[in-house]
Symmetry: C2
Subunit: 363 residues, 2 copies
């Protein structure tokens, strides 16, 4: 947040790899497509008709980096937009080991059984490196994946966080147009993905496990204050007492936080995805939140803010990319950074020298 | 942070009003200067010689928006840079009513008496609107302001946060070159100023008062996790028990936070600026922190990160300003925003349409 640890972060390279910044050489371009592409109108009709297979193909286009695919995808999204927005969007984060997959499996299965149409998506920019740590292995969701009204989609493959996040956000639009009324978006809880997820969901759930110290090691600072609710998972077996104690600690801690913008008081719950206890309490809390924020007007205001946020984020990232992805600037940026670190010039002078070079070079 | 409440924030207009973006019409330009300007070399010699009057004049140049003043100021800063960095930089924040001024007066006076050379600065972009709520009224620091080795400077007058923050950061350089070994930077704790202050200090102190709810109302979410230490102020009279109870609560809460990047465990202390109790304990905690982070290498790494941060922030803001302060774009941005809000086009399409217009227009 405030003291980014690496340059990529300063340069904003973690956000919004925009449509306009496609790689000129695309690894996929050499493969022949097996499936005949549909027209945008055909995708749209299939999606609106609830055809999961067509939805899946459309999401593949959204995820593709091929300009021709993107063109169709964007047209489909545009057609779907008026039919989107009619769902509850829930973000779920937690460190690896917090039991996100089993929790989603347990919650998702219950929701499907109660008649909900559920789409489970993910944001994990590292998914290629970690070989799809999130939702990559559908076998971990045996029970949920056989539900007729569930649509599970792993994170778009690796790329900049912004690129991955954009694809997920656009997939939400398609899923909603296809009639899914509940969208779960999973993130890993250790990086920047939470900010991206948080800015596209209505309710942000932090899944915790008991204890302090090591268990919290991986969680990024600041996430706790983002949460609309905390669920202490794995409240089962001989862990029940510890989980209940943790609940009290977290509750006390939340009381010290300033009030949320929504006026909502975040709740701390316990649950066990294995014993299937408390899982639906979490969902009821989400429902309460939705009712509460719809009543006080925050729900709509928040969604409006999110739409604006993504427009401005996309613009900002493209503007920054023009500078930082400019090959002729790279060396000069390095030199300037060194001068700043050696106290030879001020940060401000260095910045303005670089900007002058950039302007000259563009003219 | 994630869901900025107003457009200015999305557009990044709150940061770094750069040197290159001076207003073309300057309100000060019509006034005649009473003082003869010195040469950069003369300012530098005066500052290095510890001449407080010359330092004050140089800071006035840093704060000026006149291009000719800025030119001299930047030259002076460049000369001072090699002599800067040799101080302890302490950020202090807290809501209005937390007793920041009396705390700074109490701590500052003690430090001056113990032989420290103390500069007290502030970041308050709203200082014009609020008529200088921070340090504006020096009479509130009667005792401190008469200390020979204290230099108190109110916040640079209103402007964008970035502009105000830049001026404060440059003033730190001048103060350090003048021999000040302790720099306190005060912020109001209700806006974005904390992020700016946090990114220019070594230790960030949150001044709290007892109680929850109303007392915390004004504090921005996320600040608690930024703090290297929390001091519960006004631990005096019949407030002592409540302050001590608050200390325990905050301590327990901090245990639930993930470890800090520095490896430091934030401490919660109590103090009374009126009874002069505990104030120096806060300072000793700062000293411990400095020793701890110097030993583990974080101190230097952190300062390096900060210098880089300001270079990149300045660049980023200038790049964004080119777009958002472009008169010909304004109307189009409004139109696009409306289309996004009405679900007529996606946030991403809207962004790329605007970027296309911007590029065309520039060519």
């Amino acid at each position: 947040m405030v003291h980014p640890e690496n340059d990529a972060q300063y340069k904003g390279l973690h956000v919004n790899e925009g449509v306009a910044n496609l790689p000129s050489v695309n690894p996929y371009a050499t493969f022949r497509r097996k499936k005949q592409l549909l027209t945008p109108e055909e995708y749209f009709a299939g999606i609106r008709g609830g055809d999961i297979s067509v939805l899946g193909q459309a999401v593949t286009l959204v995820e593709s980096n091929l300009p021709s695919d993107q063109q169709i995808a964007q047209r489909v999204i545009e057609m779907c937009l008026p039919y989107s927005g009619n769902s509850t969007r829930l973000g779920i984060t937690g460190v690896p080991g917090a039991g996100k997959s089993t929790f989603i499996e347990a919650l998702g299965t219950e929701l499907c059984k109660s008649g909900k149409h559920l789409a489970v998506l993910a944001i994990d920019p590292s998914s290629e490196r970690t070989k799809g740590s999130i939702l990559g292995d559908k076998t971990r969701m045996n029970e949920l994946s056989v539900q007729a009204n569930a649509f599970i989609r792993p994170s778009p493959s690796a790329g900049s966080l912004g690129g991955v996040a954009r694809k997920t956000r656009e997939t939400v639009v398609l899923c909603e147009a296809a009639g899914f009324d509940t969208i779960l978006i999973e993130t890993v809880g250790v990086g920047q993905s939470e900010t991206a997820a948080h800015s596209m969901v209505d309710y942000f759930l932090l899944l915790q496990v008991t204890g302090t110290g090591d268990e919290l090691q991986g969680i990024k600072r600041g996430i706790m204050e983002m949460a609309d609710g905390i669920a202490i998972n794995k409240c089962d077996g001989n862990n029940i007492e510890r989980a209940q104690a943790a609940r009290v600690s977290f509750r006390n801690a939340l009381h010290l936080f300033p009030p949320t913008e929504s006026g909502w008081v975040p709740e701390v719950l316990t649950c066990s995805s294995i014993d299937h206890t408390g899982v639906m309490d979490v969902w009821h809390n989400v429902e309460e939140y939705i009712a509460f924020t719809k009543k006080n007007g925050y729900f709509d205001r928040h969604r409006t803010e999110q739409a604006k946020y993504w427009m401005y984020e996309t613009i900002n990232q493209a503007l920054l990319d023009g500078f930082y992805r400019n090959e002729r600037m790279e060396h000069q940026i390095e030199v300037a950074e060194r001068q700043v670190l050696n106290n030879e010039i001020s940060s401000f002078i260095a910045a303005h020298n670089l900007l002058d070079r950039y302007r000259e070079q563009r003219n």
